[in-house]
């Protein structure tokens, strides 16, 4: 039964991606990309990757779509048809596709428990991580403890992206005079937003701290909290949102998250163990792992929230400057 769901979802994904090529209206293209992201999140759930599905739905279909729509507001909605010939790209694509399909003929069967991918490190993680780390969610224990150094690099990449966008576009100046703007006449949206935004923030906190027991963790929580504040900025106007969460605070928060993460590693160094070895943070190694994982997930969540929100402020500030509603 799962094979049929798999087949149908992948076919829908292929049709959606194919239609992106032929459509000239860029707003439609961005919405189709949002649908593509949601469909791939469904495929990930079907393939037992619940953490990945959570991240793809919130990051890919949430933040990416919002940023692309923000860019479209600044660059225009229609793609002009070009006079370029398409034979050479089509040829390149067909040759590459044929070579790749020839490569997949040798691949092991889908879902086989004796695949080479399931042999070397994975059984050790599956069998030993509930005992060594003590968390039910194996993906969190691998992400935060066994491969914690990679996750530090990923947090640094998010921070670097925020720095890159801020140096290209700049943050909106905090305007002390103008307070009321935005959708003043849209009563239904204001009431619903006021009801929903505290619940979204509460859900973000739940996802942050529940990442040890179910799908979740720092990345998803940071993105959900940023989405709540983006909703606030869209409904009540950017100047009010910059009063609630000022851009200066976001700059400090983004750096603070990376500092907390790397600081946990340095604390382990001071307690005469390796960098990012959490077993020495408490008397009991398993309790030390728990403390270390909570600390670094907090750092990740803070950095991702501040980075996503400041990137949104940068794009929205450009639109306000051009006076586009």
């Amino acid at each position: 039964m799962t094979e049929i769901i798999d087949l149908v979802l992948l076919a829908m994904l292929a049709i959606t991606a194919l239609s992106v090529i032929f459509i000239k209206d860029l707003f439609t293209v961005v919405m189709l990309f949002g649908i593509y992201s949601f469909l791939s999140a469904l495929i990930f759930v079907n393939l037992d990757a619940v953490d990945v599905a959570f991240t793809e739905a919130s990051v890919g279909a949430g933040i990416s779509t919002v940023l692309m729509l923000g860019t479209l507001a600044l660059t225009g909605r229609e793609e002009k048809s070009s006079s370029r010939k398409t034979t050479l790209p089509l040829l390149v694509v067909c040759v590459t596709g044929a070579a790749l399909i020839y490569g997949t003929l040798d691949m092991p069967p889908f879902g086989d428990p004796n695949n080479p991918a399931q042999q070397h490190v994975a059984p050790r993680y599956i069998n030993d991580s509930p005992r060594e780390i003590g968390l039910p969610n194996m993906v969190t224990s691998v992400l935060a403890s066994y491969r914690g150094f990679d996750t530090l690099g990923e947090t640094a990449v998010v921070f670097a992206a925020a720095i890159g966008v801020l140096s290209l576009l700049g943050l909106p100046k905090q305007d002390r005079t103008v307070i009321q703007s935005g959708l003043k006449s849209h009563l239904v949206l204001r009431v619903v937003a006021k009801m929903i935004i505290p619940l979204i923030l509460l859900f973000a906190l739940y996802v942050q701290f529940h990442g040890d027991y179910g799908p979740g963790g720092g990345f998803q929580a940071g993105v959900i909290a940023a989405a709540a504040l983006i909703l606030y900025a869209l409904v009540f106007g950017l100047p009010v949102a910059t009063h609630v969460v000022p851009p200066k605070v976001l700059k400090i928060l983004a750096a603070l998250g990376v500092l907390i993460y790397a600081g946990t590693g340095v604390v382990s160094l001071f307690l005469s163990a390796n960098f990012l070895d959490y077993s020495v943070l408490a008397s009991n190694p398993v309790a030390g792992q728990h403390i270390g994982i909570i600390a670094i997930e907090l750092g990740v969540g803070i950095t991702v929230f501040a980075a996503m929100l400041s990137i949104f402020y940068a794009f929205a500030g450009q639109a306000e400057r051009k006076n586009i509603q």
Binding site: H186, L189, V192, M195, L199
Partner: protein, 107 residues
Amino acid sequence: MLEIISSALLILGAFFSLTGAVGLFKFPDFFTRVHAASVTDSIATILIILGLMLRSDFDLVLVKLLFILVFMLLTGPAAAHALAKSARHGGLLTLAETRGNKKESDD
């Protein structure tokens, strides 16, 4: 017994979703299409989540499903309202108004 009721609810929810999708193709005008999509979306959500609630025991999963139902009923109609309002703000005319304009310009 509970299985049969929950299966019936799930199938009914899927049927309403399908009619919403058919309505998206068949209806002539943007505003009627938004109406088709959002109304069938709400009833399909209620039926499917009720069907899923009947399948789980009385624990955390049931409460989470209840929360999901409340949030989707709150945000679905608000999203359809936002869509219709922004189309109106952008100047989109309903089918009756376009026909009225065409008749005036023909006379």
